[in-house]
Structure formats: C-alpha cells, structure tokens
C-alpha cells in the first residue's frame, strides 16, 4: 500500500468533512447567525473579550489543541494494523472531533462565552458540574504523569535531542525577553528563534548527552522524570510571559514546519506501508482492539481537552458566530492531519515488516519512538536530511509539545488545589508553592505507582488517560445535545457520538479492570474503578438530563 494513497484518502475525507458535513451542521443544526452579537463584541474589554480575525483565532486555537497526544496515541494504536487507526482518525475527525470542537465554541458563544465547566452546571445541573471537576482533575493528573514518562523515554532513547530540547527552553526565555522589552519586532524575533532552534537541532547529534543507566540507586529514566517535574514545577510558577508564552509560540511554528516536512517527505519518497492492514499477529498481552482503539486514540479523533480551549479563550474572541465553523471544525481537521502524519510515520517509515515488528514488540512499546524513527527514515530518504538530524528534529518537536502541556497542566492543577484550599478553608493550600507541590506529588505518585520505581511502565496508563479525556468530551457533547433538545432541533448528530463514546469508554474500563486485577496492579485497579464510577455517573447524568429536557419540551408543547 502506497503511503501517498492513504495520505490523499485521509486528507480528501477530512476536506469533505469540512466542506460538506460541517456546512450541514452549521446551517441546519447549530444554525449559525452572522448577525448574532458575539460575546467578543458584547463584552469587549480589550483583555479577555477581543473580536479577533478568524485566521488568527484559528492559528492560536489550533496550536493550543494540537500537541503530543495526537502523535503518541495513533503511534501506539497502529499495533492493531494501520486500517483501524486510519479509519478512526479520519471518521473520528469528521463526525466526532469536528462536531464536538465546533459545538463547544457555539454552545459557549450562545451562553456569554462561559466555559464548558460552568455550562455543565447551567445547562445540565450542579451534580454534573461536580463530576466535571473530578474528571478534569483526573485528566490533568494523567496527562502530566504520562507526558513526563513520554519525554523521559525520548531523552533516554534519543540522546542527541537532550541539548536541543533544553536549549530550546533557553531560546524561549531569550525571545520572551526580547519581545517583552520590545527590543525587536516579532517577525524578526521569530526568524531568529527558528534559526537558533534549528541550529541547536543540527548541533544535537554531535553533542549527545546520555543519562547513566543508574544514578544514586535510581534508573536513568526515573531521574529524567524527577528532573522534568522539577522543571515543570518551576516553569508553572513563573509568570506566563516569561516562558510559557514564547514557548508556545515556538511550538506553533514547529508544528507547521514539522507538518510541512513530514508531508513533504511522504510526497517525495512515496514509501509503502509495511505494517499489516489489520494485525492478526499482535504481541502477547495486547488488549483487544475493540474497545481499546477508541480510548488509545483520543486526541486526533476526539478529545475533551479541546472543549476546554474552545470555551475558555476561543469563544471570547470570536468575531462572528459563523467563524466558529472555520475555527472549531478546521482546528479539529488540523489535529487530524497531525494524527494522520503520525500514523504514516509509524507504519510506512520502516524498511520492512520485520523492522516494524521489531519496534512493536509489546503494547505501548512502539509509540512515540516509532513515530520518531519512522518519521526520520522518511525525512532522510525523502528530503535527504541526515537520519540523526531528522530524528532529533522530531524528538524535539514531540518533547517540546509534551513539555508545554505539562507546564500548562501543572498550572491548572495548581489552580484546582488552590480552589480546594478556598472551599475547605485551608489557607496553606491557597498559596502557590504548596499547591504546586501537591500537584507534582500526585503526578509523581501516578508516574511511579503505575509502572514501578524505574518509571518505564508509566505508559500503561495511556489508555486510562484516553478514557478520562473521552469522558470530558462526553460531558461537552451532553451540554450541546441538551441545548439542541431545548431548541427543538435534531439531536442525533451529537447524541450518537456521545453514546458511542460512553459505551466504548465503559467497555474499555471494564476490560482494563480485569487486566489490572490479573496483573496484580492494585494501584491502577483503584484508579480504574475511580474513572469507571465517574463514567457511570456521566452516563446516568446523560440519561437524566435528556429525559428532563424532553419532558420540559413536551410540557411546553402542551401548554
């Protein structure tokens, strides 16, 4: 199978989704009104509420939602073969992610730009809001733990990327200062930043830094995890303009450059997909594809995290309601493109099936390493870049995405602890430093508790992270569906994805429950039960809220 054919099919499918399906949803279901006064105009304050050009808004929405997760998930899921992952990413983007992200913006814009959390309280009920807070906390906990494990793995496997990854942080700090102190204009700073970053990437392979296998009784991997959390704790306490903002900006540039390089390499090289279409010979211990595929790939097919971005900052800056389609749906398409590139790198970036099988020896073994090695193979053969440099480039890209997510994730987790301090009258917890320590401590507990003292088993929680992310998406879809019922519009376009997600999530949790029990991993067994309870509560809340909304409508109809 030619990779170009897959690429064209995938892109054509997503383009069709944008031009046909999203148009239908915009006109017939959400019924966007170009004359509706959006919150950006109604509450314009020059700070949070600013009417923004739709291309700019798409740029910052897309770069906020796309990160390491749409790379890691698909790269793990191709263990079941390329077809299931490909279909789920393409159809997931068209019918799930696009409708969800676009819908979250619409729902928020129609409700004074409130966040999904607040909307769950207003539209569904206060109980649903409490569940929402619990699910959010679980998502953040898992995303931080899992990404620390991902970056640590990359640092151990690709020693050439250590200097560029940490150097990139220095570059971000410097450009942050240059911009803040208005020493240079932003385009000039961007060019300098990109040149500095790529110079570091070019330098990387000649200055590899390898963490010793054991440091003071801890494995190298564990040391990296500790360093990463130390870094993320400090970074999350700094004002946003110092590091997070310039870092995010560099990541945005990296995202576009990375996508162009990967797609360009595929088009020039036209590699063949060596991985099987459906893998009938999966390594021992690989869980069943159904339902695990649908939680292994969350970002890239549908992700609840997008709803937070859509309703957090994007909805406050939407210039016209009709822009929601371009910003939300096309943002999801952008993420689908990244996931598609990850699938192609992890299935077509190997010389032979044997090479591919040597990478995918166990569930979770391929993942981001397969993406880096496969992608580097394609860039080397397609664009002629040395393989070590190409691998460094992709490692830096993935590590920087994951690092920024950790920084943001820890910040949000700290806010939650501080809020709990407020609610439960614990003055010490309201302070930034203790709240950050609590956040870091809980993440470390998970990173090491999941897979033992060396931290290499932390990837076991990846599907569990997917389930919480899907639950979050489920709650957002519930808000949209209830709104549609109240407006007497067809609800199937959001209700079917919602039911599908809930069924798959609960099935995956039950299946994993058995695995954790058989493996004697009682820590994850406990966590699985917590998520399962949350999932069942979400499902019951859905049934109750929809019944309530329909009864209300029926009564109004009679009245």
């Amino acid at each position: 199978m030619s990779a170009i054919v897959l690429l064209v099919l995938g892109l054509a499918g997503m383009a069709g989704g944008y031009f046909v399906y999203s148009k239908f949803i915009a006109e017939k279901i959400y019924r966007l009104d170009p004359d509706f006064k959006t919150p950006a105009h109604e509450y314009e304050d020059g700070v949070d509420f600013v009417p923004t050009n739709r291309f700019i808004l798409w740029g910052h929405h897309f770069t906020s939602v796309a990160g390491a997760a749409p790379i890691v998930g698909p790269a793990i899921a191709v263990i079941w073969g390329w077809l299931p992952a490909f279909l789920w990413v393409v159809f997931g983007t068209i019918f799930f992610a696009g409708v969800h992200d676009f819908g979250a913006i619409w729902a928020s814009v129609r409700n004074k730009a409130k966040s999904v959390g607040a909307l769950t309280g207003d539209v569904v009920g206060s109980r649903a809001r409490s569940i929402f807070m619990i699910v959010i906390f679980l998502v953040l906990l898992m995303v931080n733990a899992v990404f620390a494990v991902v970056i640590a793995g990359l640092m151990m496997n690709f020693s050439s990327a250590v200097v560029p990854v940490w150097g990139a942080i220095l570059v971000a700090l410097i450009i942050g200062q240059l911009i803040y102190r208005r020493m240079l204009s932003l385009p000039a700073v961007s060019v300098i930043g990109v040149i500095a970053l790529y110079a570091l990437i070019g330098l990387g392979p000649s200055v590899p830094l390898q963490m010793p296998a054991e440091v003071a009784g801890l494995s190298g991997n564990a040391v990296w995890i500790l360093i990463l959390f130390g870094y993320a704790a400090i970074a999350s306490l700094l004002p946003v303009w110092v590091l997070l903002q310039p870092r995010d900006y560099i990541n945005g540039l990296q995202l576009f450059i990375g996508l162009i390089v990967l797609y360009g390499a595929i088009l020039l090289l036209n590699p063949s997909v060596v991985a099987p279409m459906v893998n009938s010979d999966v390594p021992a211990g690989t869980p069943s594809m159904l339902p695990l595929l649908f939680v292994t790939i969350a970002c890239g097919a549908i992700s609840g995290f997008h709803g937070l971005v859509s309703s957090g900052t994007t909805s406050k800056q939407l210039n016209k309601e009709t822009d929601a389609r371009f910003v939300g749906y096309f943002g999801a398409v952008g993420e689908g493109m990244l996931a598609l590139a990850a699938i192609l790198a992890a299935t077509a970036g190997f010389a032979s099936l044997a090479d591919w099988q040597a990478m995918y020896t166990a569930f979770g073994a391929g993942g981001v390493n397969a993406f880096v090695e496969g992608g580097a193979f394609m860039i080397h053969n397609g664009l002629g870049l040395p393989e070590a440099t190409a691998a460094t480039l992709l490692t830096v890209m993935a590590a920087l995405f994951a690092g920024t997510t950790m920084d943001t994730g820890l910040r949000l987790q700290r806010y939650i602890f501080q809020e709990w301090g407020e609610i439960y009258q614990q003055p010490w917890m309201k302070k930034s430093a203790p709240a950050t320590l609590l956040a870091v401590g809980s993440c470390l507990l998970l990173a090491f508790g999941a897979g033992g003292a060396d931290g290499t088993g932390g990837m076991i929680i990846w599907p569990l992270f997917g389930t919480t992310n899907q639950l979050l998406a489920g709650l957002t879809l519930l808000v949209i569906t209830v709104m549609l019922v109240r407006l007497r519009r067809p609800m199937w376009y959001t209700l079917v994805p919602l039911c599908f997600l809930l069924v798959m999530t609960i099935a995956a949790l039950l299946m994993q429950l058995r695995t954790f029990f058989n493996d004697g991993n009682y820590f994850l067994l406990f966590l699985d039960i917590v998520v399962l309870i949350a999932a069942i509560m979400v499902a019951m809340e859905c049934a109750a809220a929809l019944k309530r909304a329909r009864t209300e409508m029926a009564e109004q109809g009679e009245g």
Partner: protein
C-alpha cells in the same frame, strides 16, 4: 519615477512594507491573544498593591512616602472605584473620601 523613489512612494516598496506590517500584526496577535487575559490579570494584581501603597495613609497605615504618593492620588482616582470593589468592599473604605 526618480522622485517617487526618493519620497518612498515606490509601489513595490509600499507593497512589501504593507505586507510586512500585516505579517507583523498577525504574528503579534497570534503571540499575544491567548495570554492577553492572564497577563492583564497579573499586571492588575501588581497595580492593586500599588493602590494600597498610595492610599495606605488614608486607611491609617503609616507610609513614609506619603508626601510623594499624595501627588499620585488624583491620577489613580479613576481606578479607585474598581479597586475597592475588587478588594471586596462594596463602598469606599475611607470615611472622608466618598466614591460611590
């Protein structure tokens, strides 16, 4: 033609300049739009402390720099109402200083 060039009216140059300023505007918007709120809030927190310093003498807190901060009071009056509301005081906290 020569004159045009000298006064900076070369259409090509104008076009490039317009394009560059557009690029600059786009880049700046993308850079700042996501964090505008967070930064404004952080800045307001710092300003709040400054407000307290300026009005501290009036609230019975001795301020060695009162002689200088007094000068600033009229300038900060505009923000006074906003500030005392945000600090959780419905009315002006100063007996002799009515605000609302």
């Amino acid at each position: 033609m020569h004159d045009d060039h000298d006064t900076g009216h070369d259409p090509r140059r104008e076009k490039i300049r317009a394009w560059l300023s557009q690029a600059r505007f786009f880049a700046e918007e993308v850079y700042s739009s996501r964090y505008r709120g967070a930064i404004a809030r952080a800045r307001r927190d710092e300003d709040d402390l400054f407000m307290l310093l300026v009005f501290s003498e009036m609230m019975g807190v001795p301020n060695p720099a009162a002689y200088y901060t007094l000068e600033l009071q009229p300038l900060l009056l505009e923000r006074f109402h906003d500030w005392h509301k945000r600090m959780g005081m419905e009315r002006s906290p100063l007996d002799h200083f009515r605000c609302c």
